[in-house]
Symmetry: C2
Subunit: 152 residues, 2 copies
DNA sequence: ACCTCGTGGTTCAAATTCGAACAAGATAGA
DNA sequence: TCTATCTTGTTCGAATTTGAACCACGAGGT
């Protein structure tokens, strides 16, 4: 095993900042959604993705990619949302294996009443603490990271 | 309820990038540590923080802050690490309530043999895909976010 | 000394996560 | 057509996470 290229101070700082900020923000968001709407962050994400799709419908496999979770994880969360009446399931006409998740009217209302508080929090902790340039730099950098990971 | 300030396209992109990159990287790191060392990311983080501290000792409450987890979560993970012989517990002399986690020799060895692969992955997916300026911008921006969240 | 309040850590139940195993359906080539 | 191979989504068990409840202890005032 050859000696690895260790991280220098700047690189270490970058990694730490990434992990720390991610954890802190996630915790905060999770907590806020939970107490304000009784939703987990993944659940909220699912509602958002569905609402953005035509007919409010997205196929399970695609949805799993969008919210970055495992297949079984998505199955679980969609089941929860279904019990709550916020999402429905139907089978795909062209592919009998396929299952399509669909946002219900109640789901859309739930999202509408939850979004303001959520956006407020995102603003307070991420958007409004950065200026335009910082925001762009952040988006660009993280975009590179994501694309790299998506393609492998 | 007053109408919230919604996110414009750039702001939305920033938030999406943040969440997506965080999820993707986390999943990847988790998977890598699990199969290469049988450790979860939080567990690895604990070992890192301990190894960086004088005597390899950190108090539980402080450790929870460092790795950004709940008290109970930390208790659980330290217990796991203790079972594996990588970490020890002792009570604080000056405060009978306090518990101090301590990195064992086996723990230090485990960290030494796990770190190279981990660093390699961090490099591949975060560090090496960005140039110096991007890395600095990322660190600065996320630093602002973390500081803001730490102080509230 | 005593009492009150805050802190530190653990325990507990409930919810969530993941991967592996599975069943059922699509797909492509001989 | 037959068959071998992917894909899809669910199920299952094991591991993990969280907040609330709890107990023990320190700190400050009376």
């Amino acid at each position: 095993m050859t000696e690895p290229r260790w991280l220098d101070a700047d690189e270490m700082a970058a990694w730490n900042a990434f992990v720390e900020a991610g954890n802190l923000v996630n915790r905060r968001v999770e907590q806020q959604l939970r107490e304000q709407a009784g939703l987990s962050h993944p659940q909220y994400e699912i509602l958002v993705r569905l609402s953005a799709a035509p007919e409010g419908e997205v196929r399970m496999s695609e949805l799993a990619q969008l919210v970055v979770t495992s297949k079984s994880g998505l199955t679980y969360q969609v089941t929860q949302l279904e019990k709550a009446g916020l999402v429905g399931r139907r089978t795909c006409e062209t592919d009998d294996r396929g299952v399509i998740a669909r946002l219900t009217e109640a789901g859309r209302r739930k999202l509408e009443e939850t979004a303001p508080g959520h956006v407020e929090l995102v603003r307070e902790h991420l958007i409004d603490v950065l200026d335009r340039d910082q925001l762009r730099a952040l988006t660009d950098a993280l975009g590179v990271v994501s694309r790299k990971l998506r393609g492998s």
